[in-house]
């Protein structure tokens, strides 16, 4: 068996590949499910029902997908420029921190002004968090994988310090959590009596906007050129350094927005368990989506559905809910293989 490069990859193949990868992942995980002694089809049925089968399930999945779309976009935008931002988790917490500080009653504005202000400020702070590593990369060639990854721990410790100290909620009965944001800073609900909030609309809107920028504007054109071949971009006269830095601002900003949206749309206050690794899952989302902004939305919903559905499944059957982690990881691996098969064809002999 050998791989041969394909001269061209038809669009149909590119669309079928992710679906095939997911089917393969589900088939592989079926072995594990069967191992627990549970009936496979019924388990998957429960999973799908728990993720999509009711109004409640569906809104829960979409609520879970919201931060994943934003961190997924953060990773996709950066990775396309070959800026390996592994620090979305830290940028998310910086955004969340900005949200509880600005939205905690410090500024008194009507909701129509306060919400955009908080969101933009969170983006700015998230972007600024990535700007440091980006400057170090373009100026001195410091590996951003290391700096962004380590910054995550710095940020978490900073948040921990603030939650134990100046930001600690006096009404919080001693828990390390911030005071809640005031109601004018809250994102409105999209559907009444559910947890689904306007963050989803913002995230999907941004995904579409980023896709349009990417394909239709000179900004996107420059970004793609620099991502694919910075030397040729510089030779053609593109401002490569500025393009890298603005990509960093955007990527960090999207992750920061994810944090602010979680605080202002869902949790209301900041704790150290605001994010169950949304920043890192964003990388998986972006890879599953093959770094395509619209694909990110689909991939985020898929991963959210697996997690939400697995929770429901584990309540009804003796299958631990960490099967979700296994399924997501298997999907990513299958997706990588599928990506390979889109670019190469398998030959016998």
């Amino acid at each position: 068996m050998r791989l041969e490069p394909r001269a061209d990859s038809p669009l149909s193949l590119q669309l079928i590949a992710p679906l095939g990868a997911i089917a393969a992942a589900l088939a592989l995980c079926a072995v594990l499910v069967a191992w627990t002694g549970a009936p496979v089809l019924r388990a998957y049925g429960l999973l799908i029902e728990g993720a999509l089968g009711s109004r409640f399930a569906l809104t829960e999945t979409l609520t879970r997908a919201t931060p994943l779309i934003l961190t997924g976009l953060a990773a996709a935008v950066a990775f396309r420029a070959k800026l390996w931002n592994i620090g979305a988790e830290g940028q998310l917490y910086m955004g969340a921190l900005t949200a509880v500080i600005l939205g905690g009653g410090m500024i008194d504005l009507p909701a129509g002004l306060l919400v955009p202000l908080v969101m933009l400020a969170a983006m700015a702070v998230g972007g600024a968090t990535l700007l440091g590593p980006a400057v170090l990369k373009v100026r001195f060639g410091v590996d951003e994988v290391v700096t962004t990854l380590l910054l995550n721990f710095v940020v978490l410790l900073l948040v921990s310090m603030l939650l134990e100290g100046p930001l600690k909620d006096p009404m919080g009965m001693g828990w390390p959590q911030s005071a809640p944001v005031i109601s004018a800073a809250e994102l409105p609900k999209l559907i009444a009596r559910t947890r689904l909030h306007a963050g989803l609309a913002i995230a999907v809107g941004l995904a579409i906007l980023l896709w349009l920028i990417d394909t239709r504007t000179i900004w996107g054109y420059e970004n793609r050129a620099v991502g694919a071949n910075p030397r040729a971009a510089a030779f053609a006269g593109m401002p490569v350094t500025w393009i890298m830095l603005r990509t960093a601002l955007l990527s960090g900003g999207l992750a920061g927005l994810a944090g602010a949206a979680e605080v202002c749309g869902l949790k209301g206050y900041l704790t150290l368990d605001l994010s169950p690794g949304f920043g890192y899952s964003g990388i998986v989302v972006a890879m599953l989506a093959q770094l395509h902004p619209l694909g990110v939305v689909g991939a985020a919903v898929f991963i959210a559905a697996i997690f939400v559905g697995a929770d429901a499944m584990s309540r009804a059957m003796p299958i631990p809910n960490y099967i979700a982690d296994v399924m997501v990881s298997t999907s990513l691996l299958c997706m990588l293989v599928a990506g390979l098969l889109v670019r190469y064809r398998l030959r016998r002999g």
Binding site: R216, A225, F235, G237, G349
Partner: protein, 525 residues
């Protein structure tokens, strides 16, 4: 190499033994017939040149031989035994060594490690470094391949890396050596050294297949020449029974007439360098008080061995760098700082030395590459929005005007052949009727057809009033095109010498730094 196998390849009777026989090799890539029933034989001690244009199927054929690809039809026999298809391992076992065009060395390992890697069993705990070293040095000495076993590959020049690649094959007892475009990356001097090595290898009974599209190399190095065209073997000749014109015609399939420059009077200066000095980050001079003038209707050729300051000169005129001292003037206006975009808008057409890595973005489409230098112009964008249909229309025109062979404006650039990539770059820059053309190694790695096309376009631009600064390592190219020639050596540039008043021999001496002959040439001129 054991005595037994050495005697195996040298036949006792007069006629040398057949070491390799390809019969009816056929290979398709989708609709493309890359190899069409090709049959070849190779004898011990023979150098076979495989000549053909880019895309003629030379590399595919050798990749089949080495087991990278599997042929649909045909058989391969090595030393009389059939070679199992599709296994580089089997090819190595059978004594076939391949030196790829793009080297396959690990930069962070030493020469010795690179040569020995993969030859020792993984189950052995200790590697016998001393034996490997002795063997490497012995091979190096026997074939005149001078290497330092402990040097890091990253620190080696291209020529040295190639020697390591060859040693790697010899270390594995190769008796048949395939060299894929071995001189594409070499200077003329390094190429001459390589041909000397090939002589020693064949004297030892090795057989060599030498892939090339350069005529003079075929005559310099080969015994037999096989010409491929569009996947077919069109002719096999003893090299000394044929001539350049005949081979060129076989290769291209029609007669090629190289374009010749019309006599023209030089016009106003478009580029002027006055006492220009550029210093590297380490304080070394890259250009040292260089004076140079290029006028309209004039081609100025810069000859020199690579690495003597050509890159710095090209970067300066491309707008990628600014002089540390001295003055650069374009059409009478001084250049103050490094700004490639400003150079483009001043009417400088820039053809970069390395079209893959600096000229084009391979992952992007043809139309996206064509607007690369001018995407901010009103013709291609308004208020930051790309005018994609306008850009595609423009791309279609350039594709037609410059005869770029590609499926269309939306084709990925990396799928184009080298010649078509260069046509794309020519189209991108020459379509705007430039005043000055910087052509850095404009025909490196191109086949005859594409070379004469590029030359023709440059001369056309010269006739239309452009000045051309031609930086090339190919002396034939400079002598064919340039009105005036300057030689660059260790960051310094000779005065401009009129073409026709300086011989190849004199240029060679100047390139080697013997500038004491300059007064003599200038007096004669």
């Amino acid at each position: 190499m054991t005595a037994a196998s050495a005697s195996r390849s040298l036949s006792t009777k007069g006629k040398p033994e057949v070491v390799l026989r390809l019969t009816g090799i056929t290979k398709r890539f989708g609709p493309l017939l890359a190899n069409d029933a090709i049959s070849l034989t190779l004898h011990a001690g023979e150098v076979l040149a495989l000549l053909g244009e880019n895309g003629a199927g030379k590399t595919t054929l050798m990749n089949i031989l080495f087991g990278h690809y599997v042929a649909e039809q045909g058989t391969i026999e090595v030393f009389g035994r059939p070679l199992p298809p599709g296994s580089p391992h089997a090819a190595l076992e059978a004594g076939i060594g391949m030196v790829h065009q793009h080297f396959t060395l690990a930069d962070n390992l030493s020469v010795l490690d690179n040569v020995a890697v993969g030859t020792e069993s993984l189950w052995r705990l200790r590697s016998d470094r001393r034996a490997s070293r002795t063997r490497l040095l012995e091979l190096a000495q026997r074939f005149g391949l001078d290497v330092r076993p402990d040097a890091l590959v990253a620190d080696l020049s291209v020529g040295e890396r190639q020697r390591v690649e060859i040693l790697k094959a010899l270390y594995r007892d190769a008796r048949i050596l395939i060299l894929d475009e071995p001189t594409a990356v070499l200077t003329p001097q390094e190429a001459a050294g390589l041909f000397e090595t090939l002589g020693r290898l064949t004297a030892d009974g090795l057989a060599i297949v030498f892939i090339s599209h350069k005529m003079n190399e075929v005559f310099a190095a080969s015994d037999t020449v096989a010409v491929l065209r569009a996947g077919k073997l069109v002719a096999t000749h003893a090299t000394n029974s044929t001539d350049r014109a005949k081979l060129a015609e076989l290769m291209v399939g029609r007669t090629v007439t190289p374009p010749a420059p019309l006599p023209l009077l030089a016009g106003d200066p478009v580029l002027d360098l006055s006492r220009v000095t550029v210093v590297s980050g380490h304080g070394q001079p890259l250009l040292d008080a260089v004076d140079l003038t290029v006028c309209r209707h004039q081609v100025v050729g810069i000859a020199g061995v690579s690495g003597n300051g050509q890159t710095a000169l090209a970067e300066l005129v491309s707008g990628l760098s600014a002089p540390d001292s001295g003055r650069v003037t374009i059409k009478g206006v001084g250049v103050e700082r490094a700004d490639p975009k400003a150079m483009v808008h001043r009417g400088v057409a820039r053809i970069p030395e390395d079209r893959h890595s600096a000229g084009l973005v391979g992952a992007m489409t043809v139309w996206e590459n064509l607007i690369g230098e001018r995407y901010r112009d009103r013709a291609f964008s308004r208020f930051g929005i790309l005018r994609r249909s306008a850009a595609r229309t423009y791309a279609r025109e350039v594709i037609k005007d410059f005869d770029v062979r590609c499926p269309g404006p939306d084709a990925r650039t990396q799928l184009l052949s080298g010649g078509n990539m260069q046509k794309l770059i020519l189209g991108r820059t020459l379509a705007y009727r430039p005043d000055l053309i910087l052509a850095s190694q404009p025909t490196r790695g191109l086949d005859i057809g594409a070379v004469s096309y590029v030359h023709g376009r440059l001369l056309e631009a010269r006739a239309a009033g452009a000045g051309v600064l031609l930086i090339s390592e190919d002396l034939d190219e400079i002598l064919a095109l340039a009105d005036r020639i300057a030689v660059i050596h260790q960051a310094r540039l000779t005065p401009l010498l009129p073409n026709g008043h300086v011989s190849i021999g004199q240029l060679g001496l100047l390139m080697a730094g013997h500038w004491d002959i300059l007064p003599e040439i200038l007096d004669a001129a």
